[in-house]
């Protein structure tokens, strides 16, 4: 459960608050041990001697998180100590699995007499480096998260442009595997949608804080709920329209779902009205029905979800292979490097889950889910603790986007919900997702730093014993 927020009277101890940086360092070291151990295991199980790649990937990993840790010490000393280790562990496990799939692809290429393919792990390490650089930059530039709200409309406009751009660009630049999410120039591709996600959360958080009273204005009552006034539905309609636009122009079910879900949750948190959720869900259901009727690719997704084995060789192939991988892994998994996750298409990106599930088993996946859960709840914890409304909304939005994304991806790859193409944050191969999520985590840490840092003018005199204290009127925390 989420502990009670610390909004009451300040702690009685005059000693400086523990920053948690020591804990963070210990946990980071723990993550590093796990990751380097896993890397060595992969190479050992593939019956190879420990290679140079192992050495430099391991060293790069250690160096990058050392830098990240120092940056946190320097720029956000009171930030939550659990967030960065969670990220380090997830990113590290991602590198391990990408390296493992690299080995499988090299072997396969050699067996078929082809040249060895590009090692994705080097690229992912490079993307991690860019991600950490952005992480440090965000920490360094944004000293107080409240300043971001000043650029809300700029962020909103930028987010909109980024979101819409691939949909409007010609397919030759933006289309990969049927979804138009990319901007590819000179061999390097980015998915602007990943960055748009964060910018739009910033915009909506700021916008909703400004207009909060407006949206809380009660309209008619219905079934014991206060319905919002019809004209206040505009932001929801806009978000819904954007989602549908993404679906139509970019054929990307995942981003569309993610985006709409976040706006809905932000509206709910800002207004504290359940009616918004119900209205939003009915919009969502309506959208689903329309999309199902209008778009063939949505119908195909749903049919594949209902029975992936009906069209095994064609549309059901990916998810069926993923299920085979998960099933073969079973409870304990085959062990790192001992399974065949490379049999699943997109094993290192969209189906990272089945790769991990095959080799680490249900136990490993449960552990990974718990790491995600810790990361997300620490984000929400910061939302509870931070004092300003914008910070609360922003932290909730950022944490919830992680939650919704893993739900959509893991649920999709394990046939809980229809499959949509999204990456697992920090685990999957993919530069845009990784870099954007580092920015996201930097902002979360910034907010948690604000939440945990001691108040600037804290009374330094010790409080009188409770028996001697007179009755005091305190404001009820909102």
């Amino acid at each position: 459960m989420i502990p009670e927020p610390r909004t009451g009277s300040p702690p009685p101890s005059p000693a400086p608050l523990p920053t948690g940086r020591g804990i963070e360092l210990v946990l980071l070291a723990f993550a590093a041990v796990l990751v380097t151990g896993a890397l060595a295991l992969v190479e050992a199980n593939q019956e190879q001697e420990l290679t140079q790649t192992l050495l430099w990937v391991g060293l790069a990993y250690l160096a990058l998180f050392a830098i990240a840790h120092i940056a946190v010490r320097r720029f956000a000393p009171f930030a939550d100590p659990l967030v960065l280790p969670c990220v380090a562990l997830l990113n590290g496990l991602g590198l391990v699995m990408i390296r493992r799939l690299d080995l499988a692809r090299v072997e396969r290429a050699l067996a078929a007499g082809r040249d060895a393919p590009v090692e994705l792990v080097s690229r992912q390490v490079a993307w991690t480096a860019i991600g950490v650089a952005l992480f440090v930059a965000v920490m360094w530039v944004v000293r107080d998260h409240r300043t971001i709200s000043r650029y809300a409309y700029t962020a909103g406009f930028g987010g909109l442009v980024l979101l819409a751009l691939p949909g409007l660009l010609p397919s030759s630049i933006s289309e990969v595997n049927g979804a138009k999410l990319w901007i590819r120039i000179g061999g390097v591709g980015i998915q602007p949608g990943e960055f748009a996600k964060i910018l739009l959360i910033v915009f909506f958080a700021a916008f909703l804080v400004q207009k909060r009273d407006l949206f809380s204005t009660a309209g008619r009552r219905f079934l014991g709920m206060e319905l919002p006034r019809a004209r206040d539905l505009a932001p929801l309609v806009v978000a819904w329209g954007l989602s549908v636009g993404v679906l139509v122009l970019e054929r990307d079910l995942g981003t569309s779902l993610l985006f709409f879900g976040i706006v809905l949750v932000l509206l709910y948190v800002a207004t504290e009205r359940v009616s918004w959720l119900l209205i939003g869900l009915s919009f969502f259901l309506g959208g689903c029905l329309i999309a199902y009727q209008l778009f063939g690719h949505v119908r195909v997704r749903v049919q594949v979800w209902l029975d992936p084995f009906a069209d095994f060789d064609n549309t059901g192939f990916q998810i069926a292979q993923a299920l085979f991988g998960l099933g073969t892994g079973g409870v304990g998994g085959t062990g790192l490097g001992a399974g065949r996750p490379d049999l699943v298409p997109y094993a290192e990106s969209d189906f990272m889950l089945s790769s991990l599930g095959e080799e680490l088993g249900l136990i490993g996946l449960a552990a990974i889910l718990i790491v995600y859960l810790v990361l997300i709840t620490r984000g929400l914890r910061s939302a509870l603790a931070v004092r300003d409304s914008f910070g609360k909304l922003l932290a909730t939005g950022l944490a919830f986007t992680l939650a919704l994304q893993i739900f959509i991806v893991i649920g999709g790859a394990s046939k809980l919900i229809p499959l949509t193409g999204l990456t697992l944050p920090f685990l999957s191969y993919g530069g845009s997702s990784l870099v954007a999520n580092y920015a996201l985590v930097a902002m979360l840490l910034r907010i948690s730093n604000a939440a945990r840092a001691p108040l600037p003018r804290r009374p330094s005199t010790p409080l009188p014993p409770i028996a001697e204290a007179g009755t005091e009127l305190v404001e009820r925390p909102s």
Partner: protein, 491 residues
């Protein structure tokens, strides 16, 4: 704002719980199905990394695994691939497996419980786990003779040779055959083109005709009529039956003719002995009508026809005499036509039972299972299925079959060895007049002390245009050559 944030947190936990619940369902409840799904390549890939046991017969290694330096550690290799393919089957990374490779997979891959002790010691000593070995009952000389007899003439067909007293399968051939080495190849393209070629081949090469296909037995089925007649006690070899060249099927206007429209000998009537030797359809139409459906059906069942779960250890297609709604149908069925359909193995079992004093033995291909270090783990004991006919009936039937063989023409007779036999020529297809008949030869030898029973089937007379093909001219020489090989008379 804190209350909704807490609710969001709870919602997140519910979402994670849903994911975990679903993953548990996929990875625990459904895991077995996914793991063993034939479309899941992982199991096979894992097996390829273990040394699979060998398949051998009389010391000759038919299938073995050799270490390679490519991704799949062990390459499965077959010596005399096409000759033994119906028995060994193939073992392919992409196309699953067949034959013994499939039926005895647990032994060959080492997971069989009988190999448990060795598996345990592998685990403790850290040796690479390896599979157990399978020793077949096949006699390589019989197998080679049967295969060459069929392929030299370009026949599509099958030969099954049994040891009557034990049920050991000495030879099991199906032609045209395929080379399992091509499907076991580690070269994906070669494998794929071989698979495509094998699947498109006409006549088909992949099915094992000896056990997977059923054919109208034609006149060889008359052995079962005679067995039923003798067992009834109302008939002897000298009982007289009609010798008419044609007979009207009871209750219809349809004429049933003898082969070439000949009368059965010179007299008004013919003895049962002569009717069997000349294979007179009219006499057997009369006999079956007199015996009734029940007598013939139950006699057929006692020989094993209709058994649905026969395994050698590959599953054997069910032989049947079909539905017999009326006497006319019975009369057609009694000469091995209409819906009567036997596997070559089943037909061999019939003559093997006659040779074995009426006792039907469980046919089997595996003689011994050996551990990884070639120590016997289990030896197959002969297993008696049942008594199809009395031994006296078997003796009489043998005499009649000796009479058959001595009156048959055709090449390949073996001096000093008395064969007991029956030929068959069965019409098939939608227009039997246009397609050469399937021809049969079922026999055992030596008649006085049977060592081998064979069934030879040649599809469409060996040549679709050879409308005059008969069991005696086409199939009998092959059967005699196989008997000669089994008796070792030319070794």
């Amino acid at each position: 704002m804190n209350t909704p944030v807490r609710r969001v947190a709870i919602a997140v936990m519910v979402m994670v719980l849903l994911l975990m619940g679903n993953l548990t369902y996929v990875q625990v409840v459904q895991a077995g199905d996914y793991r063993s799904d034939p479309r899941n390549q992982r199991v096979l890939l894992a097996e390829y990394s273990r040394k699979r046991g060998q398949i051998s017969a009389e010391g000759q290694i038919l299938a073995s695994s050799t270490e390679t330096d490519d991704r799949l550690r062990y390459l499965r290799q077959y010596s005399d691939g096409p000759m033994y393919a119906p028995v060994t089957g193939y073992y392919s990374i992409t196309y699953s497996s067949s034959g013994i490779e499939r039926a005895a997979d647990a032994v060959l891959n080492g997971s069989d419980d009988r190999l448990f002790a060795r598996r345990l010691s592998d685990l403790i000593t850290g040796r690479d786990p390896s599979g157990g070995n399978v020793v077949l009952t096949l006699d390589p000389e019989v197998q080679r003779t049967a295969y060459e007899q069929l392929t030299e003439r370009g026949y599509t067909g099958s030969v099954v040779a049994l040891r009557p007293q034990t049920g050991e399968i000495l030879g099991m051939v199906s032609t045209p055959s395929f080379d399992p080495n091509e499907l076991a190849s580690h070269d994906a393209e070669a494998r794929m083109s071989a698979w495509q070629q094998f699947n498109e081949a006409d006549p088909p090469v992949l099915p094992n005709r000896a056990i997977s296909e059923t054919y109208p037995p034609g006149s060889t089925f008359k052995l079962i009529d005679v067995a039923a007649a003798l067992s009834s006690g109302r008939y002897s070899p000298d009982s007289q039956l009609t010798a008419a060249p044609a007979i009207t099927l009871q209750g219809t206007n349809t004429q049933l003719q003898n082969f070439n429209g000949n009368a059965c000998g010179t007299g008004e009537t013919a003895s049962l002995r002569d009717a069997l030797q000349r294979s007179c359809n009219t006499a057997f139409a009369q006999l079956s009508a007199e015996l009734g459906e029940q007598a013939i059906r139950s006699q057929a069942e006692q020989f094993g026809i209709g058994t649905t779960d026969l395994q050698v250890p590959m599953p054997v297609a069910t032989s049947t005499i079909g539905d017999i709604p009326d006497t006319a149908s019975l009369q057609q069925s009694s000469i091995g036509q209409r819906d009567v359909a036997l596997t070559p193995l089943q037909n061999a079992m019939v003559v093997a039972a006659i040779a074995n004093g009426g006792v039907v033995m469980q046919p089997h291909l595996i003689s011994q299972i050996q551990s990884q270090d070639l120590n016997p783990v289990e030896t197959t004991e002969p297993d008696r299925i049942g008594q199809a006919i009395d031994s006296s009936v078997a003796r009489t039937l043998t005499e009649m079959m000796v009479n058959n063989e001595n009156n048959y023409s055709g090449s390949g007779k073996i001096t000093g060895v008395q064969i007991a036999a029956k030929t068959g020529t069965a019409e098939h297809g939608v227009n039997p007049q246009a397609v050469a008949p399937h021809v049969w030869y079922v026999a055992f030898a030596p008649a006085e002390n049977p060592q081998v029973a064979v069934a030879v089937l040649v599809e469409s007379g060996g040549d679709r245009t050879n409308l005059a093909a008969t069991g005696g001219t086409v199939a009998a020489p092959i059967g005699r050559a196989v008997i000669r090989a089994a008796l070792g008379t030319d070794r």
